[in-house]
């Protein structure tokens, strides 16, 4: 089984690793590149725990062919915080938007993808933006509140 070198930009930095034939981006990021922040929940596109941002759009890493990101920009939770937590991360912490924490990386990336395009979303837009992410713990309200609060603080500006 031939492996292909894949060079791409991860959270602003150029990275390279070998992808196996048919390997999905989630597995590639976690084991090939060592970015453990996106999570495996289903491998079928139903839960959104693997959500990452590809060229500015939210996508499911488990359904993305790893080698298809060659030359493209990928963003994960690992790139959110700078010297301080990202406003979305602050808002999630302040609003109890995580309990077990397993859906959180996916939620954060869906939220970031929304705020990057729509800095002042309505509640309906927030609900739509996370409609591809399942959470079994919080009941979603704290997450929606956190995203709206982050938007108000200019997280998407």
């Amino acid at each position: 089984m031939a492996k292909k070198p894949v060079t791409f930009v991860l959270n602003g930095a150029e990275r390279a690793a070998f992808a196996e034939a048919g390997q999905n981006l989630l597995d590639f990021l976690r084991r090939g590149v060592g970015d453990l922040t996106p999570k495996y929940g289903c491998g079928q596109g139903g839960c959104g725990a693997c959500t990452v941002i590809l060229d500015g759009e939210p996508v499911l890493a488990c359904l993305t062919l790893a080698e298809s990101v060659a030359g493209r920009r990928v963003e994960t939770v690992a790139g959110l915080a700078g010297a301080a937590p990202h406003p979305l991360q602050e808002a999630f912490m302040a609003h109890f938007a995580a309990q077990c924490g397993y859906c959180t990386p996916g939620m954060l990336m869906s939220a970031k993808a929304l705020l990057d395009r729509t800095p002042r979303p309505t509640r309906e837009q927030v609900v739509e933006a996370i409609s591809g992410n399942l959470c079994r713990c919080t009941g979603y309200e704290p997450i929606i509140a956190a995203i709206l609060a982050a938007a108000e603080r200019g997280a998407g500006a």
């Binding site: 196996e20 453990l36 929940g41 289903c42 994960t76 912490m93 077990c100 079994r136």
Partner: protein, 572 residues
């Protein structure tokens, strides 16, 4: 939860509380939330290993079948495969989870060798260089099955002639203490009370199995360490259970196991069965490399233990004025193909009956039934959520029969501080009435002045603290053909034909249990701990006596009870 989502009713029970608390009642940031929002909380799979191997199981497609032959040769030859395990590789291939608490009989193999009892039961474990290679090879395991008749419904399973799921339980019912094929609760005389009631209301309530469906699937990664130990990162909710189960099944001293867990991507009770650790560690033992065994989503949903199905038959005897005078339960828990924790779930369920109501006559028979379904496990409110649904649905039904508002009906029948419960303990710190009053207020339901005036702290105790004058015999409902408890020493004959009396066993309490009258609870000011001494667990004395007399000399010394928190465990 942000503060805006919680309403604190500090007016209720204010005199029993100190509201100057610094932490309780105020939002506090979770200590693990920084890890969650940075994606750095260390779930079991968030550890990288050089040379990690992946384990996947070949599983039964049948509900019930005999295994004639397992052929792993094609799987072994599959690309990337390092090792294929079968039951023969497991040092001790039979276990039941609660054997750690000396409860139950080992009934479940780690990898089945001669019979499968539920669809998805594992029969072989393939260990390969990648998940894809393991998946491919698992499909190449050839098993020669002889399908057997199966049973998927609890009441079908206990009918005579039903397919037997576990040979050690030929009636498809778990046997408690070697004597009864169900758990029973007896308080008062339910049959007499039903005959005297103005209305008798029957109900049948059913709950299907419910999958916990955490976003993180169950799994473990085990690896050899350099100090003759194995490390195991696991998603389990029950770290010590998983460690001890692995130790037992693998015949490894627990000192050679290093378990790391506690970061769980949603458990809800579904990560207590300790399925993954033993196989992952065994794989690490036999290959010398790190091994990951995790369910994919399909396995999590179908093979992972759900909350077990339950079926409840409730019969209430109720008077015209709304007082429930009798409640009878017959309950069936669907344990699936193996015991796991369902035997214990039922003890919790029975401890919960008849619900938060003072009912003078209560009867329950609750069965742990085996079927060819996925083995059940715990889920939030383990053992009681199903029966609570049944009880509350039934309360509404009975309220309708007597023509009462369902909230008032509950307030009328609610237990109050000082009432005797069906388990012969006094109720304390009751709050159902106050909850009902707040519910009525929120829902805009008008309550009568009596219901509005009612309080958990008034009206209880006194006559309501008394035990019923008569309770049904313990032997009622004993399983047929089971050993009866021996109350007299067995007589033996000497060689000369003379009868010899061996030493008498200590006399057991008489059948009609009559614990002593209990002093009332003092509620004012600081709790009177002396008055509450009777509430601490103690051995029942042999005779009625007044509380003032000194305790009688204890009977012949008994060996210490191992675990007093779960009643009725087999004592050595």
């Amino acid at each position: 939860m942000s503060e805006s989502m919680i309403e604190f009713r500090k007016d209720l029970f204010a005199d029993e509380r100190d509201d100057r608390l610094a932490v309780i009642g105020k939002p506090v940031r979770r200590q693990d939330i920084l890890g969650h929002v940075t994606g750095r909380s260390p779930f079991f799979d968030d550890h990288l290993f050089e040379g990690l191997l992946h384990l996947r199981c070949a599983r039964s497609p049948h509900h019930h079948a005999r295994i004639r032959r397992i052929d792993i040769s094609a799987a072994e030859r599959s690309p990337g495969v390092v090792r294929v395990l079968t039951g023969r590789d497991v040092p001790r291939n039979l276990n039941t989870l609660l054997s750690l608490l000396d409860f139950g009989i080992d009934d479940e193999p780690v990898l089945s060798e001669d019979r499968v009892r539920y669809m998805g039961e594992p029969v072989a474990a393939v260990i390969a260089e990648s998940e894809a290679a393991a998946r491919e090879a698992a499909a190449k395991v050839r098993v020669d099955y002889e399908p057997l008749p199966h049973v998927l419904d609890v009441e079908e399973a206990i009918k005579p002639g039903a397919p037997v799921v576990l040979d050690i339980y030929p009636g498809n019912r778990f046997i408690y203490h070697g004597k009864y094929d169900h758990q029973k609760l007896r308080f008062g005389d339910v049959e007499a009370a039903l005959r005297a009631a103005d209305h008798v209301v029957e109900g049948r309530y059913q709950m299907s199995p419910i999958e916990q469906a955490p976003i993180e699937t169950c799994g473990a990664i085990a690896a050899p360490e350099t100090n003759d130990r194995f490390v195991c990162y696991t998603s389990t909710q029950a770290l010590f259970f998983s460690l001890a189960t692995s130790s037992k099944v693998l015949r490894l001293p627990s000192s050679r196991l290093h378990f790391i867990g506690g970061t769980v991507g949603g458990g809800f009770g579904g990560k207590v069965d300790s399925i993954h650790e033993p196989l992952a560690i065994l794989g690490a033992m036999l290959t010398g490399r790190p091994v990951k065994y995790a369910w994919d989503r399909e396995e999590e949903m179908q093979v992972g233990g759900p909350r077990g199905a339950e079926r409840w038959y409730i019969t209430d005897g109720v008077m015209r004025d709304g007082r429930i005078v009798a409640r009878k339960f017959v309950g069936y828990f669907d344990s699936g193909a193996y015991t796991r924790l369902t035997s214990y779930a039922i003890m919790k369920a029975v401890g919960h009956l008849p619900g938060p109501y003072t009912i003078p006559n209560v009867y329950a028979d609750v069965y742990c039934v085996f079927t060819n379904r996925t083995p059940a496990t715990a889920m939030r409110g383990f053992g009681i959520t199903g029966v609570d649904f049944a009880i509350e649905a039934h309360m509404d039904k009975v309220a309708e029969v007597v023509g009462m508002n369902p909230i008032e009906f509950r307030i009328l029948n609610a237990y109050r501080d000082g009432d005797m419960k069906a388990h012969r303990r006094i109720a304390k710190n009751c709050a159902l009435i106050e909850c009902c009053q707040v519910v009525a207020e929120k829902a805009g339901v008008a309550l009568s002045p009596e219901a509005r005036r009612a309080s958990s702290r008034q009206g209880g105790g006194g006559e309501r603290a008394q035990l019923p004058p008569r309770t049904g015999a313990r032997r009622e409902g004993a399983g047929r053909g089971l050993r009866r408890p021996r109350l007299r020493a067995k007589r033996r004959t000497t060689k000369r034909g003379r009868r010899v009396r061996s030493a008498r066993r200590p006399r057991r309490p008489s059948r009609e249990c009559r614990p002593p009258r209990l002093p009332p609870i003092v509620r004012r000011g600081r709790p009177n701990l002396r008055a509450r001494r009777h509430l601490r667990p103690r051995v029942l004395p042999l005779r009625s006596r007044s509380p003032q007399s000194p305790p009688p000399p204890s009977p012949a010394p008994r060996p210490p009870i191992r675990f007093s928190s779960i009643s009725g465990l087999r004592r050595r």
